[in-house]
């Protein structure tokens, strides 16, 4: 089963488009994660936006180069680290004598500051970290099923020409 119609890899137009769009996508996604407690957005949404970088890399440079830039094994380990970080932040409430997931030190700073809302901010960061690594790994996994054969075929065609 192969999906060859439509997009041509290594086309100059696709490559330039991905190159020019990728920094904006990553910057905007990271902004949405960082300002989750102040403005609309949050960990899930920003994480998925950052994870689209994997897809853009695949469209422009093919699967092998994308996995060189973003190692799937590293992404997989980092996702587990993000999940553990969320649990530890939830356990902070127990360590300080309250319930699980209790917001314990929320009185620092003024309303509207980034670090003003206690554990809410850091929980948002951990969820964003987890989602961006997890969805990036999932995208690379799914592309790995379809892509490598196509790559080899194209290389053979180029060699014949």
């Amino acid at each position: 089963m192969r999906f060859k119609s439509g997009i041509q890899e290594r086309s100059i137009v696709v490559k330039c488009g991905a190159d020019s769009f990728l920094p904006f996508a990553v910057t905007f996604g990271v902004y949405i994660i960082l300002f989750g407690t102040v403005s609309p957005g949050g960990g899930f949404q920003g994480g998925v936006m950052v994870a689209s970088a994997a897809l853009l890399l695949y469209l422009a440079y093919g699967f092998k180069n994308a996995t060189k830039a973003l190692n799937p094994e590293v992404l997989r380990v980092n996702e587990a680290c993000g999940a553990t970080l969320y649990v530890i932040l939830g356990m902070l409430g127990i360590f300080l004598g309250a319930n699980f997931c209790r917001n314990v030190f929320f009185n620092d700073g003024q309303v509207g500051d980034l670090i003003s809302a206690g554990t809410i901010t850091f929980m948002g960061y951990s969820v964003g970290y987890k989602v961006l690594t997890g969805v990036g790994f999932l995208l690379l996994l799914m592309l790995g099923l379809l892509a490598p054969d196509d790559d080899e075929d194209e290389e053979e065609e180029v060699a014949v020409e």
Binding site: V38, Y86, F100, F106, M123, L138
Partner: protein, 121 residues
């Protein structure tokens, strides 16, 4: 077979009767939290700011009035997702973890099978 059919019909009738009784009981006994009978929908559509939000009830009251003193988060949605409903977000993120682990297991087994078949050929 006839006995089976009779049992099926009887059980269906019993379930239907209990369900109807539960619905009627719930309708009669549950207190109505918000009754929108006084609101004119056309007027509300033309002028949304005329809606009375001074007396929200239940959880909405706590979230609207005491959000800043309870969480200091300027974004109410973030306060609900990560503070009031922290358990729920934990479950959501672990659903993602489980889904990715399952996909990884299935895909890696498929890769191994494909490699074995190639070696045989």
């Amino acid at each position: 077979m006839k006995a089976r059919k009779a049992i099926t019909i009887i059980s269906l009738v019993v379930i239907l009767a209990f369900g109807l009784a539960a619905v009627v009981n719930a309708y009669l006994n549950i207190p109505i939290a918000y009754d929108g009978s006084d609101v004119n929908v056309v007027d509300l559509y033309n002028d949304p700011e005329s809606y009375d939000v001074s007396n929200p009830d239940g959880v909405a009251d706590i979230i609207v009035k005491e959000n800043l003193s309870k969480t200091m988060a300027a974004n109410n949605v973030a306060a609900v997702v990560f503070d009031f409903r922290g358990y729920d977000t934990l479950g959501e993120s672990f659903i993602l973890l489980t889904a990715i682990a399952g996909a990884f297991v299935i895909v890696s087994r498929g890769h191994k099978k494909a490699k074995k078949e190639e070696e045989k050929q």
